[in-house]
Symmetry: D2
Subunit: 380 residues, 4 copies
């Protein structure tokens, strides 16, 4: 099979998430890293680049130079992975889209919705593909949940209760508050929201991905519990969806005892499902008048769409990196098919795109707007 | 030890909850049932009364006659248990208080806050004791949670997430909707709320009991998912407490897959705790920078206040009836002490009283008010 | 309904288990305590007796006097509950059987199998009923498990893995070893085995009750981990059953972290089930090629035999005392029916009897025999 | 950092485990696949080889040719991964060891202990490194467990209860028994044992790795529950370790409801630990007189040795492939260090070696011997 080549912006020494992206891509051996601008410090880029065996002429001091020079090459990269701090996502993605290069970008896609929409339009205009790495939707059981909702296994969706509590920010705040304040608590770097922006958006996309529901209005209260912290570290959001379903989201970075507790519960007229990111290989399904079932990846029959993303036999846990890799797998498969001139169906575009990314930014903006006005209802 | 005697109003043949009360009282052998008006159908009362070996002259056709005649006896009952449908709680409790007889009453205490407050005032005026059977606060681990908060083990309380989902109403609605509509869905019988009134109040009192926090304002949305149902069967409530803590409650009777999922999570500046009614013998406690701990009733050291309510060794589950009995235990112990002329301390009055019952009714009214106005914030 | 009357031997002040028996009987109000010899210290008996409102002429200094005098009364007790230390079970039960009085007795039924068989024969000869309080078989989900095996839901039973680890003995040993040695470690009081005798027998009966399988041979190794302790505190037992099924049991009183972890897993050719005493309201059932199911008492359909023992709605936990009460419920129901001259069917004799008790003693003897010979296989 | 190069024998089209090895190695980018003999069908090797971008002169029709030709190259592979059917492990490993090439080999290392010992001796004689991929010991929490035992956190180890139940073989047997019989049930291919050989050995090594205990004697019963199946599909093993600790292992391929339930519980005089492969990011630790603790990878402090193997933050599950990769990580790190002429310490050789593999084969032989003699005790 043809191998893709990709470049990376960000992900230099000490940058955790860049390595996750590289591991995720390597897992399926679908693309090879052949260009990079890993840091604003070029010596850092050179060091990382050599370790990754990238030819030195494809290590670039700036992302702009990288976009231009790669665009000019015959053997140019098929896509770029952008894994920089949030405020740089927009200009970098724009540069590569303008250069005609497909993009994978971390979330949040941008600090302002307008910028994110611009990226979406640019993607469409230039006939490119754009993925935003909402990694949690890569888990096979999340795909299964989506199929179940789609096929009506739960009946009409009535209520959604989703949450995402963590405590690591509080731990870090207690141990190294000063550094944290200069970064996470700094709106010019982190944007207008910390907790909703960083993890609340994962809830928003996960719900949207599984249920297809669109938010009609919401009422959000953002809290700041850590003293001297400027941005939110906890939030409660009530929602109404188009069509009448209701929901409540809770997200927190000060919930002592929670590691990374993303959890979703969906209730319909015929049944319900529950999935927890920390135990991702199982899906709990209840139907009216039947015992609750534990669906196990690998052991139980999944819908083909979900089964395709399962790699290893039942009881051999698949984790976060595998989920992450599944986002890349869908993206690179679509890219490969497109590069061969084949039609890529809607179903095959099974990854979060720039429009999804823009919706996430809108979600943050609406939550902040609601909260600032006193936690009142705002139209979405 | 002196034995108390009690009477019962309600709890005739087929009345589930009356039997629970009788079982709970019998468990500790603290009081003997010696009078009753179990049904508006006197033959039902006679039948039950004979089975319970109650002398026939203490079986009464009406609660009014029972209150008057018992008040006139030298060997009159020490307290009455009221286990009738909700709309009768107020007049019956009033009749017994006026007759100078202590009262234990099911929740909700009344359909209107004003009535509940009147009962509270009458109790105080007549120097009596009044218990409302919010049974879930009888569990030893709930007592432990309360002590931990009181002693500052969690630091300042910041956020509370509590929920109470069930699905039995939906099951019953599907199988026998007509009967249900005439009762649960009938505001003149059930009051202004179904789900918040029936189970939301348990959350409200549980949080109040454990944390001592007072609600400052709330924003509630009551949903009706079952078609043709008049009252709420699902509700989400955002809260602000005096002193700055925040919270969110969710309660549902249409959450397929949930039996009786009352669960509370309390987050403070130093630690958190989690307790679930369906697994009531354990308390999950997390402190910052320490592994999460599972506190087991019987195995681990509890505060004395909580330990006193534990009956059997670790790993031998104590359940709902035992919790229920603990409410009666505290009430009868206080009554016994009072009857001996001893001072009963605030700490010994460790049972939900009429004021707590009135706050519960207020909570329902405020939730309905908020929801009717469009789920806006209302002062409590 | 006619009320039964019972007497009790043992269960004086400070005797934990006597109170459990009284609470269990009181729960269903099926029998009233009207006679007793609670202690070898008669003043203790008098004190307890007065507190329990027993007429003074039915408080006896010795069990022998009690058996004789009660036998002579017209209004004599219908049955006696024996809750003394183990070595007294046999002589006391024999005295009451000889007096023509039905018996409920704690386990182990006797210190020697021959004595236990004698009690069984005496029971049959005198046309009486005898129950041994293997309380864990009173849980509704254990009844459900039994029905499922009987009806073939699991296919042919192939393998059983059951365990019963605790750590309280170790805790007590560390804190008060001297007292423990004089009692639990003293073969003349505790019998030939501590751990297998005390809790291993619960496994043996639970497996027998659910599956109906008879042990053909076993290979047991009894360990003594606590230094200076004479008897076993841990044991592993491999078994072969008649018909070809196999099994392994593990029981321990030194398994740090375990409260009272009785757990059984049964594997058949078509399915399996798993039940844990510490979470007794649920049964986990797996069938080949189907998702694993969680059967919840109250929510899901149980077989009628099991459903009859369920008291309260789903999600309201039933615990140990309720299970205990179910043993008494079956026993008193059979006694009532018998006293009315009705035929009591095999199915209605749904409680552990003297034969079951004798099998338990045999199990202990065989385990000790195997272990002493070097953990070799012995015929059962 | 210098990159290693490796070759692979086995792992052609449709061979599941070969791909796992490649994914695991790719994850850390520590070695590049540059040679291979993936199948006895050379066209299969060529196809896979091209897809993996291996130069055609390093694709070999036989492992023998591969060993000889690679040994002759200057840029020869640093190690070979052997992922063939079990009966080929020995001759292939021998060929590469004789060619002076380091080896990673799947388990079981050989069908006979003598062969495995020979490989171990050859490794030592030739100054090479040899790893056997007992992958489950790669999990960080397994490393943590090992450190805890080593440092005496649990006191003296007294008892070990370990199990490994699955049901997939039964599922496959029911759906495609014929194929299964020709392979898994065929002693000439599978060796003398199916269940103990395939998964029981994982228990044996896991216990050995964590506790360092050596088996002194064992008593094993191997069962065959699937009709018409020749080899064992279930086994119970009682053990005594040098120094006095005891244990029991259970392993099954017919335990309906179990996916891949490898679980270990270790009890010492001061504490216990429990770890389950299906939920591998947590370790349950109990100490006498303290609440049970849940140690979470990433959230809680691990010993440095364990922490080094943790890749991603708390609550982002690491799974089977990551554990597998950790075996390769330790092996390649040691190889790199050795290739630089540095001393590799005992601690740095943190991977299962040929001696461990030989012990595993011995374990299988001893279990079969014991069982054949009637499940009697045999010296190890």
């Amino acid at each position: 099979m043809k191998k893709l080549h990709y470049g990376m912006v960000g992900g230099g020494k000490g940058a955790f998430i860049g390595n996750i992206h590289r591991q995720a891509i390597a897992l399926d051996n679908l693309a090879r890293l052949t260009a990079g601008s890993f840091s604003h410090d070029f010596s850092n880029t050179l060091e990382i680049g050599m370790d990754l065996e990238i030819p030195s002429d494809r290590l670039y001091p700036t992302y702009l130079e990288m976009a231009q020079k790669e665009a000019a090459r015959k053997d140019r990269i098929d896509f770029v992975s952008i894994v920089t701090p949030n405020y740089l996502h927009y200009p970098i993605a724009k540069a590569f889209l303008n250069a005609g290069i497909n993009v994978v970008c971390d979330k949040p896609l941008a600090l302002r919705e307008s910028e994110a929409r611009e990226l979406d339009e640019l993607t469409i205009k230039n006939g490119l593909l754009f993925a935003v790495t909402y990694a949690y939707t890569g888990y096979p059981l999340v795909k299964q949940a989506r199929e179940m909702v789609k096929r009506g296994d739960l009946g009409d969706i009535r209520f959604i209760n989703a949450e995402y509590p963590q405590d690591w920010l509080l731990k870090q705040f207690e141990s190294d508050g000063h550094k944290l304040k200069s970064w996470r608590a700094n709106p010019s770097v982190a944007g207008i929201s910390n907790c909703v922006g960083d993890i609340g958006t994962h809830i928003e996309y996960l719900v949207s991905y599984i249920t297809g529901l669109k938010i009609k209005s919401l009422c959000a209260r953002l809290d700041t519990f850590m003293e001297g912290h400027e941005l939110d570290d906890n939030a409660t959001i009530m929602l109404e969806f188009e069509g009448g379903a209701k929901g409540v989201y809770w997200t927190s970075q000060t919930a002592i005892g929670y590691d990374n507790g993303l959890k979703i519960r969906i209730f319909g007229s015929k049944g319900s499902l529950r999935w927890s990111q920390e135990n991702p290989n199982y899906l709990v399904v209840s139907k009216l008048n039947s015992p609750t079932e534990i669906i196990s990846r690998g052991r139980d029959d999944l819908y083909p769409k979900a089964q395709d993303y399962s790699r290893i036999p039942a009881g051999h846990p698949e984790g976060y990196i595998e989920a992450f890799a599944n986002i890349y797998r869908a993206f690179t498969n679509a890219l490969l098919k497109k590069s061969l001139g084949d039609i890529v169906t809607e179903e095959e575009l099974d990854f979060p795109n720039a429009r999804d990314g823009a919706n996430g930014v809108r979600f943050v903006e609406k939550c902040v707007e609601s909260s600032k006005k006193g936690a009142i209802w705002v139209e979405f």
